[in-house]
C-alpha cells in the first residue's frame, strides 16, 4: 500500500496531493534556507499562527454572505490577509518598541492564535454553515480533499518555485550579507519583504496539507539539514529544496496509505529523520566526521609525543601511546624501540629542532605560524631551506641506548 502511494498508484486525487506536497516541500525548503541564513527562522512560526483568525473570519464572512464557507480560495485569501497583519505587527513591535524579535514573535503568535481559537469556538457554537473541517487547518488533513483544492495547492507550490527562481540572486545576497547587498544597489527592505511574502505563500499553501502549527517545521528543518552538507549557498538551497520535497512526498504518500496517519506530522517526522541522518553522518560537519577527525588528531599527537619521548630516552607510561607505537611497528612489546622506531624518533626530534630554529627566525614568521607540533616541516620549507637549517644544527648523532 505504501509503495502504491509512493508510485502514485492510489488514484488521481492522491497523486495530485503527493505532487502538490512535493512542490510545497521544495518551495518551503528553499524559502526556509534564505530565512535560516538571515537568522530569522522563527518568524515563520509567528506568520503561520497568525493565519488562524483570517481563516475563521473568511469562513464567517463567506457563510454569512450565503456562500459555502469552506471555499478553499476564500479561506486562503483570508489567511494571507491576517498573516500579513501579523507580520506588520511583528515588524512594528521590533522596529518601533524596545521588544526583541523573539519576544515579538511569541507575542504575535500567541495573541493571534488565541484570537483564532476564540473565533473557532464562535463558529462551532453558533452553528453557522457546515463548519466541519476548519480544525483540519490546525494539523493539516488531506483526507477527502477536493480535486480543485489539490490543483490549487500544486499550482501555488509551482508558482512559488517560479518566483524563487526569478529572484534567487537578490535573495541569496541579502540573506548572506545584507550590507554588501545594499552596497551593490539592492533594495534590502524590499527583498526582506519578498522573503516574508514567500514565507506567507508557503504557509498559506501548506495550511491544508501540513497545518498551521507544523508548517514552520517545513521551513526550518530542510534548511538546517541541507546546511550540514555544503558550505556553498547555492548547493544548500538546492539540497534544502530536495530534502523538503522528498520529506513531503514520502510523508504524504505514507499518510495516504493507511487511516489515522495525519499528513502534517508525518511530513515533519520524515524531514526530522533526514535531519538526524545528516546530523550524524554528513561529511565534515556531521557528528561522526567530527569524532573521526578528533580520533585521528589524538592519534597523531600521541604518536608524535611518543616518538619524541623515544628519541630523548624517556620512559613512556601512556597506554594509548604505547599501543599506537606498537601497532605502527615502532616499539616492541616490552617498550623498546625497533630499528624503524629509532629512525623515526630521531627524525621527529630533528624536525622539532628544525622548527625551533625556524620559529626563532623573524624572516620566516609566516612559515613559523604554521607550527602546531604535528605539521611536517617539509610541507613548509623547501629542501634547500631545510639543509640550511640542518647546517646550524650539525650532523646527526646516535640515539642514546
Amino acid at each position: 500500500m505504501i509503495w502504491d502511494a509512493l508510485l502514485l498508484q492510489l488514484g488521481y486525487n492522491a497523486t495530485l496531493v503527493s505532487v502538490g506536497a512535493a512542490l510545497l516541500g521544495a518551495a518551503a525548503g528553499i524559502t526556509g534556507t534564505f530565512l535560516f541564513l538571515r537568522k530569522r527562522a522563527l518568524v515563520a512560526d509567528a506568520v503561520s499562527h497568525a493565519t488562524l483568525p483570517g481563516v475563521c473570519i473568511a469562513f464567517l464572512v463567506m457563510a454569512s454572505l450565503g456562500g459555502d464557507g469552506r471555499n478553499l480560495i476564500g479561506l486562503l485569501v483570508g489567511s494571507a490577509l491576517s498573516a500579513w497583519v501579523g507580520l506588520w505587527c511583528l515588524n512594528w513591535l521590533t522596529l518601533r518598541t524596545r521588544l526583541a524579535e523573539d519576544a515579538a514573535i511569541g507575542a504575535i503568535l500567541s495573541t493571534f492564535f488565541g484570537f483564532g481559537v476564540v473565533l473557532l469556538t464562535v463558529i462551532q457554537t453558533a452553528g453557522i454553515g457546515r463548519q466541519a473541517g476548519l480544525e483540519g487547518f490546525l494539523l493539516g488533513s488531506t483526507a477527502g480533499m477536493l480535486f480543485n483544492d489539490a490543483l490549487l495547492i500544486a499550482g501555488g507550490g509551482a508558482a512559488t518555485l517560479v518566483i524563487i527562481a526569478l529572484t534567487r540572486r537578490a535573495l541569496t545576497l541579502v540573506s548572506f550579507d545584507p550590507e554588501y547587498a545594499s552596497a551593490q544597489g539592492i533594495n534590502v527592505p524590499q527583498v526582506d519583504m519578498l522573503m516574508m511574502g514567500l514565507v506567507m505563500a508557503v504557509t498559506v499553501i501548506g495550511l491544508k496539507i501540513v497545518g498551521l502549527i507544523l508548517i514552520v517545521a517545513l521551513l526550518i528543518i530542510p534548511a538546517v539539514t541541507a546546511r550540514f552538507w555544503s558550505e556553498r549557498s547555492d548547493i544548500v538551497v538546492l539540497l534544502a529544496g530536495l530534502f523538503g520535497a522528498a520529506a513531503a512526498y514520502v510523508g504524504a504518500g505514507v499518510s495516504a496509505s493507511a487511516p489515522n496517519l495525519p499528513t502534517g506530522p508525518l511530513i515533519v517526522l520524515m524531514s526530522a529523520g533526514l535531519f538526524a541522518l545528516s546530523l550524524f553522518f554528513a561529511p565534515s560537519r556531521g557528528v561522526l566526521a567530527a569524532v573521526i577527525r578528533q580520533r585521528r588528531f589524538q592519534r597523531r599527537v600521541h604518536l608524535r609525543q611518543g616518538l619524541l619521548a623515544l628519541a630523548q630516552g624517556q620512559p613512556i607510561y601512556e597506554n594509548l601511546t604505547l599501543r599506537l607505537l606498537g601497532r605502527a611497528g615502532l616499539v616492541r612489546r616490552d617498550g623498546v624501540a625497533t630499528e624503524t622506531g629509532r629512525a623515526r624518533a630521531a627524525k621527529a626530534l630533528r624536525d622539532e629542532k628544525r622548527w625551533e630554529i625556524l620559529r626563532r627566525d623573524h624572516a620566516q614568521e609566516p612559515a613559523a605560524e604554521l607550527y602546531d607540533g604535528l605539521r611536517a616541516i617539509e610541507t613548509v620549507l623547501t629542501p634547500d631551506e631545510i639543509r640550511e637549517i640542518d647546517a646550524k644544527i650539525g650532523a646527526p648523532q646516535e640515539i642514546p641506548t
Binding site: 537568522k39 527562522a41 512594528w92 518601533r96 511569541g106 476564540v118 538546517v224 546530523l279
Partner: protein, 309 residues
C-alpha cells in the same frame, strides 16, 4: 449576578486562570530580558508527546503520571536543543524550531495511533485546555468559601496551581539578587561569584514546571501568551525590574479575569447564546494589553532612540 451562580461556576476557573497566568508571567520577565522568550513556546509544544506517552504507559488520565511525562518531555527537549546547537553548530532559534516541531509532530502521530476514544485527550484539548469545565459543584454561594466541607470539593487544579505559583514566587524571591545581576550582566555576575549556568538552568526548570502545571489546567495557548505578553507589556511601562514584575503580575491577572469574563459573558451581551473559548480570549486580552502598552507606554522605545520615533 448572584453568588449562588458565580461561586461554583466562575470563581474557580477565574482563580485557576489567574494563578496560572501569574505563575507563567513571573519567570517570563527574566526569560524576556535574557532573550529566551520562546522557551515557553517550545516547552508548551513538547508537553504534548510527554502527556501522550504517559497515557500510553499508564493507560489512564491521571494527573501525576502526566505531569511527570510532560516534565520529562520538557527536559528532553531542553537537552536536545542544547545538544543539537552544540553538535551541529546551529543557531539556537533554528535548533529550537527543529526540536519542538518534531516532538509535537511525534506527539500528534502517537495520539492519532492510540485509542483515546474512551478518555478526554485530544490535540484541541491540549491547545485550548478546559478552563470552563473546572467548576466547583459543592459550592452554594459565597458562604461556601468558609465551609470546610465544600472547600474539600474544590477542583484539584486550584490548590496545585496555587502551590506552583507560590513556588515560582519563592524561587524568584530567594534568588532575586543573583537573577537580577546575571540577567543584566552575566560577566559581572560571574566575577562576583554567582554560578550563572546552573542559575539559568534553574530558571528554565522553574519556567517548565509553571508551564506544565498551567498546561494541565488551561492549555498551551495561555502558557505561551502569559510567558511573553504581560512581561513585554510591563517592559513598556518602566525601566526598573521590580516595577516591571509588579506591572506584569497586574497585567497577567487582568488578562485572566477580563478574558474569562469576556469569554463567558461577552457573547451573552452581544445576544449570542454560548460562551467562547476562555483560553483563547485570555490570550487575546493579553495581546490587546500589550498593543496598548506598546503604543502608549512611557518606556516603549529603546533607550537612546530619538523622541517621537
Amino acid at each position: 449576578m448572584s453568588g449562588a451562580e458565580f461561586v461554583p461556576l466562575s470563581l474557580p476557573p477565574i482563580a485557576i486562570g489567574t494563578c496560572a497566568a501569574i505563575a507563567c508571567a513571573l519567570p517570563g520577565n527574566f526569560l524576556l530580558l535574557r532573550r529566551q522568550a520562546l522557551i515557553g513556546d517550545a516547552i508548551s509544544h513538547v508537553v504534548l508527546p510527554g502527556i501522550v506517552v504517559a497515557f500510553i504507559l499508564t493507560g489512564v488520565i491521571s494527573t501525576w503520571p502526566m505531569m511527570i511525562g510532560a516534565a520529562g518531555a520538557a527536559l528532553i527537549a531542553v537537552l536536545l536543543i542544547e545538544g543539537i546547537r552544540r553538535l551541529g553548530r546551529i543557531e539556537p532559534g533554528a535548533a529550537m524550531g527543529v526540536v519542538f516541531t518534531t516532538m509535537f509532530a511525534g506527539g500528534v502521530l502517537l495520539l492519532e495511533q492510540t485509542d483515546t476514544s474512551s478518555v478526554h485527550l485530544d490535540v484541541e484539548h491540549a491547545l485550548y485546555g478546559n478552563l470552563e469545565s473546572l467548576i466547583w459543584l459543592d459550592a452554594t454561594g459565597w458562604a461556601s468559601l468558609l465551609d470546610p466541607l465544600a472547600l474539600a470539593g474544590l477542583p484539584p487544579e486550584l490548590p496545585r496551581m496555587a502551590l506552583v505559583l507560590v513556588l515560582t514566587g519563592l524561587f524568584i524571591a530567594i534568588f532575586w539578587r543573583a537573577l537580577k545581576i546575571s540577567t543584566f550582566d552575566e560577566g559581572f555576575a560571574q566575577s562576583v561569584g554567582i554560578t550563572t549556568t546552573p542559575l539559568g538552568l534553574a530558571l528554565v526548570v522553574v519556567a517548565a514546571v509553571a508551564a506544565v502545571a498551567a498546561f494541565d489546567a488551561v492549555g498551551s495557548i495561555i502558557v505561551i501568551a502569559m510567558f511573553i505578553c504581560p512581561p513585554a507589556a510591563a517592559r513598556m511601562m518602566t525601566n526598573r525590574l521590580e516595577r516591571q514584575i509588579a506591572w506584569s503580575v497586574g497585567f497577567a491577572a487582568l488578562s485572566a479575569i477580563l478574558g474569562y469574563v469576556l469569554a463567558g459573558y461577552g457573547p451573552l451581551w452581544l445576544g449570542l447564546y454560548d460562551a467562547v473559548s476562555a483560553a483563547g480570549m485570555i490570550a487575546t486580552v493579553s495581546g490587546v494589553i500589550l498593543a496598548v502598552a506598546a503604543r502608549f507606554g512611557p518606556c516603549r522605545t529603546r533607550a537612546g532612540a530619538p523622541a517621537g520615533v
